[in-house]
């Protein structure tokens, strides 16, 4: 039985088609921003990739973000945009003969970098190993140790954070280029560009990246108002974050918060390109190694033992 078109049916079809067209247009119309609040939403939606914006655009974006943060956190937050200093490649040294596993670096970082308290996010993980046991097999490590005092006899401690690889697998993996390596060697994330696919987290061999599974929350009085766009400004639900060598501090010549928090001086930081820096001294005079070097990620986080040469 074939259907064939007759005059009146055709008209009905045309009318139905026109109706559908009109309905579609009308629906789209309701999505248009009609007031200022919605305008900000669209500005945020269409914000360009950080590296594609010129200075004026970045300034505008920063102004908008500062307004949004002020509204959300009831505190004036300044977002810096310091560029990489020329002739600088940051390196980090960790003296394993000194670390006592006290975790003051972990919490110093949390205070400096505006991490969410609930759900809890820590950028630094301190692993505890039993002396003499397998070490490369990180599976033998313990992360949740909670004795009354550290260091415990028979154990040693190794903190792990973003290794700021020179050949970062996370940067290779990211489908939107939301994470990249800056000229001074810091691997950064543009929190307004990240789509939250977490491929970078699967790619990182050091478990350094954290995801905002829920809405990050932090009390207003705990917020550090001095921030950097690519660093410690408050993040959003559904984006990835990680250690940035305290980009807001290091690009202004200061040591990262974890370096300053360590009570036993286990942490060293400096410019790998400066032959007089302490990190170069460590590399040249101590036997340094890096984690999972066989993966050729070429991290800039060097572990060493100061005792003994």
């Amino acid at each position: 039985m074939k259907e064939s078109m007759s005059g009146d049916k055709r008209e009905m079809t045309i009318n139905r088609r026109t109706f559908l067209k009109g309905a579609a247009v009308g629906l789209a119309g309701t999505m248009l921003p009609l007031d200022k609040a919605d305008a900000s939403f669209w500005e945020a939606f269409f914000q360009k990739h950080f590296r594609e914006m010129n200075e004026t655009e970045i300034k505008k974006v920063i102004e908008r973000l500062e307004r949004e943060y002020e509204q959300k956190y009831k505190k004036a937050i300044s977002i810096g945009n310091e560029k990489a200093l020329p002739g600088v490649l940051f390196g980090y040294g960790l003296d394993l003969s000194r670390c006592i596993g006290c975790r003051r670096c972990v919490y110093g970082c949390v205070e400096e970098n505006n991490q969410s308290k609930d759900p809890q996010i820590h950028w630094i993980t301190v692993l505890r190993f039993k002396k003499g046991n397998k070490w490369v097999d990180l599976e033998e490590s313990e992360k949740y140790y909670s004795p009354s005092q550290v260091p415990e006899p028979g154990y040693f401690y190794m903190p792990v954070q973003c290794q700021q690889c020179e050949n970062p697998p996370c940067v290779k993996a990211c489908p939107t280029q939301a994470t990249w390596k800056e000229p001074d060697g810091i691997v950064v994330v543009d929190y307004n560009w990240c789509i939250g696919c977490r491929y970078c987290m699967a790619a990182c061999p050091y478990g350094a990246r954290r995801f905002n599974w829920g809405e990050p929350s932090r009390k207003t009085e705990e917020i550090n108002p001095k921030t950097h766009y690519l660093g410690n400004r408050p993040r959003y639900k559904g984006v990835v974050e990680k250690c940035t060598f305290c980009i807001q501090r290091s690009r202004n010549g200061r040591y990262p918060a974890c370096v300053e928090a360590c009570p036993v001086g286990a942490r060293k930081f400096g410019n790998l390109l400066d032959p007089k820096s302490e990190i170069r001294y460590a590399i040249e005079n101590k036997r340094v190694f890096r984690l999972k070097e066989d993966l050729n990620t070429n991290p800039k986080f060097y572990y060493f033992f100061a005792y003994g040469v």
Binding site: E3, L138, C194, C197, A202, Y206, W213, K237, G238, V239
Partner: protein, 415 residues
Amino acid sequence: MAHIIKNFFIALKQVFIGGTKYYLWIGFLSIFIILGLSAYIDQINRGLIMTAMRDQVSWGYYISNFTFLVGVAAAAVLLVVPAYVYNFKPIKEIVLFGELLAITAITMCILFILVDMGQPLRVWHILPVIGTMNFPVSLLAWDVLVLNGYLAINTLISFYVLYRLSIGKEYKMSVIGPLIILSIPWAVSIHTVTAFLYNGLSARPFWNASILAPRFLASAFCSGPALMIILFQIIRKLSEVEIDNRAIFKIAELIAYAMAINLFLLGAEVFKEFYSGSIHSYPIKYLYFGLHGKVRLVPWIWFASVLNITAFLLFLLPKTRENFTTLNMACIFVITGVYIEKGMGLVVPGFVPDTLGEIYEYSPTTPEILVAIGIWATGALIYTLLLKFAIPIYTGKLRFATREQKGYGVSSTQV
């Protein structure tokens, strides 16, 4: 051109014409779609924290389903498209339904990715030109390109064939030929690219094995066609479409070979891991035997292995292959087995132990499962609607007369 669009809407009307069983089915699916949608809206509000995924296991049930469905999509076409070229009539008749399944499967894949994203509104960032696609370095960028390209190719082929059928003509080989030649390597590539995106991560030794891409293809060739066999029997029963038993048995035979290769590759993997016994074997040890008392996945993988081996035998022996009871049993076994093995049995052990040695036993939460069921129901709905659209054209019940056939010469709107 206008008449093509008009005819499209006329054919679309067919979707709304159906008996009680049809509407009951649509209603049944809608319940799960609505449940899934409400769970997803909750997820949009509270974030992915309402899944069981955490930093240690950052991909879970959604990506498991995605991986399984990419295999189905690849196989759906790979198996049947050559029929266009080789002219094996029994399969040639059912190619269309395989392609429609591929379209459905890819749509479901895209939905699973969208629900897994932390910031779904920013999905345009991944596109080339308007976004900043990290092509060619990022495998996920490749995946976006090949999956969407595959969707486009299959939509083009299917709707072109349907259009030609609707005016009572055969498809033109000159039009479809290049598309088919393109779609065969393209189907291989979608699953290879998906395998590569796991394979390329040196951080995850469980995945960082060259055998992953061949295993993916082999298991895809098992599960996709098995799903098609079941669907074809349903189509045959509920409509006037005739599907030759020979087509079904041929597909079943191919599944037997694919499963043989799949089992062999699994054996190769198992040997390498357990015999060398390095630290890198801990994920597979976790999967099959548990690690430090953590055994959540162990019963599942053994269940899947038993299903796969049984299905293999049932497909291998002609007696059981050509008996519809055992054949359907085997199909269900293989679909379930591969779904477990390639889904959770692939994604979760990649994260256990995690890069710093921690073991987090992931098990999807109820909202996660509801969203996944919602997407499967959406897929079933899409396939149902596609069939409802396509079958009347395919069987000849719906035909549009061409201008020449009408013989009126100039006629502005008649088709």
